[in-house]
Symmetry: C2
């Protein structure tokens, strides 16, 4: 490698033209003398010159065209599919995407958001951490447009840094200065639970992860709504049928195994992937099974017997929607409204619900 990479100045000197002309050429201006254009092209090739977007981006009004995405864990298929959808939309519009995993850690989350802002990303798509006062979002949204995905940003005690309009009087729980894209967690859970009830189940276990998670709370709401709506002889309205301590598939399996012997439950609503897989595992080892519906589709669901019914969300659509929302704000083509988009879920019945 050369000690110092060639710059526009070098190209200009080699081509015998002024700096500005090279700049024009590199930026695709058409009004250049073909002879000079050719000389510049030749110089670029022979010197191995590369346009420096980082340097260009420091000019006012210019940006590096980079979007930041903060999720919990890129290795999780849910997030990687979402990230891919965001990447696709960004790429189509000439933007790069830098993705970081917060591991649901509030402090790490804050650090990552700060780092992305320091790097001068043009926009930010963020899954808020599980314990969140929304303070980071209040601060960050002063600098860069933010779209929250999967969960809303908590309404912070802190005021939004800029009040471009009077705050809505009967405001929602979500922070008012970010746009939000969610799935209909409650509705999906309600449908799943109702499917189990229709199959004859009356003592349905809600098996899920920590209630600290917004999505878990919402799914629990949906589960309860279905039970209460059913009325008639249902036993699940008390807390005895709710277990939100299944953080891993192994833990979920242990919980189900312990309950399978008794006849305290007669069906399982697995409120996330890992719980469903754990329940499946418990069934296999016990040699007996209960009706089961999961939340979020997974690769193995259609492959086991009976195939597992799930509430499926359109993760790609969530990513696309969020990406389009940030880009719309960047190009200024969207009003700075801070609405919430709720995406529908689909109940996919494959047999395991009975």
């Amino acid at each position: 490698m050369p000690a110092r990479p060639p710059t526009m100045k070098d190209v200009a000197a080699a081509a015998g033209v002024a700096l500005k002309t090279v700049s024009r050429h590199v930026n695709g201006a058409t009004n250049i003398d073909p002879v000079l254009a050719q000389r510049i092209s030749d110089a670029i090739v022979s010197l191995g010159y590369r346009h420096n977007l980082a340097a260009a981006s420091i000019r006012p009004g210019r940006s590096a065209k980079v979007v930041g995405l903060v999720i919990s864990d890129l290795a999780n298929p849910y997030w990687s599919v979402l990230a891919r959808a965001v990447e696709r939309v960004c790429s189509e519009n000439g933007y790069l995407l830098v993705t970081v995993s917060s591991e649901e850690d509030g402090e790490r989350h804050r650090l990552l958001v700060d780092r992305l802002i320091a790097q001068r990303v043009d926009g930010l798509i963020v899954a808020p951490p599980r314990r969140d006062d929304g303070a980071w979002a209040a601060a960050a949204s002063a600098v860069v447009p933010i779209v929250a995905i999967d969960r809303p940003v908590a309404a912070a005690a802190a005021e939004p840094p800029v009040r471009d309009a009077a705050a809505a009087p009967g405001a929602t729980l979500a922070a008012s200065f970010v746009e939000t894209v969610l799935a209909d967690n409650a509705g999906g859970a309600e449908n799943a639970t109702r499917a189990l009830l229709e199959g004859g189940a009356r003592r349905i276990l809600f098996l899920g992860d920590s209630i600290e998670l917004y999505t878990m709370r919402e799914r629990l709401v949906g589960y309860r709504r279905a039970l209460e709506g059913w009325g008639d002889g249902v036993d699940g309205t008390d807390a005895a049928f709710v277990d939100t301590s299944a953080h891993t598939a192994v833990e979920a399996a242990a919980i189900v195994t312990a309950l399978l012997g008794s006849d305290r439950i007669d069906a399982v609503f697995a409120a996330n992937n890992r719980s469903a897989i754990g329940a499946l595992d418990a069934f296999t080892h016990a040699g007996s099974r209960l009706p089961l519906v999961g939340f979020d589709d997974f690769e193995a669901a259609p492959l086991v017997r009976p195939a597992v019914s799930v509430v499926a969300q359109d993760v790609s659509l969530m990513g696309e929607t969020a990406a389009r929302a940030v880009l719309a704000r960047l190009t200024g083509s969207a009003p700075t409204g801070s609405g919430t988009t709720v995406l529908p879920t689909t109940l996919v019945l494959r047999g395991s619900e009975r």
Copy 2:
């Protein structure tokens, strides 16, 4: 948002100090008068100043501390797990990671590499596209250190831009100016095939994707090696037992279904995920199965009956190894050697191999 975001100059003015002192403070210098430091801190908070790493990175000797990763498709679990491992190592060393999906398209791949270089990434981790003359790598490696993953960069007709040492006389097929991290595809396939042979199979179908893929070619080599090594009454050494047209699980299923009726084959080596899932699907629909071993582990593998045996590669390790290799080059702590690391695979026997 303010029309113009505050700069160091604004902070310096507000705090009543010189620009340089603010710079020191922001960069964590310790030798600053506590009183001034406090004034600066206050000014930063009240103005909402954010350090601009993009601007800082254009100074000679400074960089934005960003690494680029080019893979085929982030939505594929194989790549997302790898990306996560790369991200982790980068993050531990203060680097951001920008990941892009080439979709195995050579032209798109070239464009993405150029874009990342224009953005002035410090290093590049790249899965070469399936049809590759290695020209992109020859050009790019002049500007930025490159590590190839999953497949080697083809040795280009073009010479490496810098010949720091005499080219190795009995050179390998891989380009000599990039470091390479591969899995032992041939060895893994050989072990898988041998496991089927040991189970009594003698007419083993090699079911896989296009032979344009380096990994497929290697796995085919391993399959053949096992058959030839076995000798004794094996029928698979001709092309009749090799099908490399299974680009999707559905196609794989169709191929297996067509063969299940006849007794032309008595076992299946599925050379990738999708082929294994397709075979599984064919078995389920036919109500009969053959011994099966797959390449690459997948979520459903342990959940179906019988559980699917696979050749597992340590994808995270590949990502980690590649990331450490680039970072080592960046910090200059590694010799500019262009070696190849081959990671071992593990044969996970779960029952389906008989």
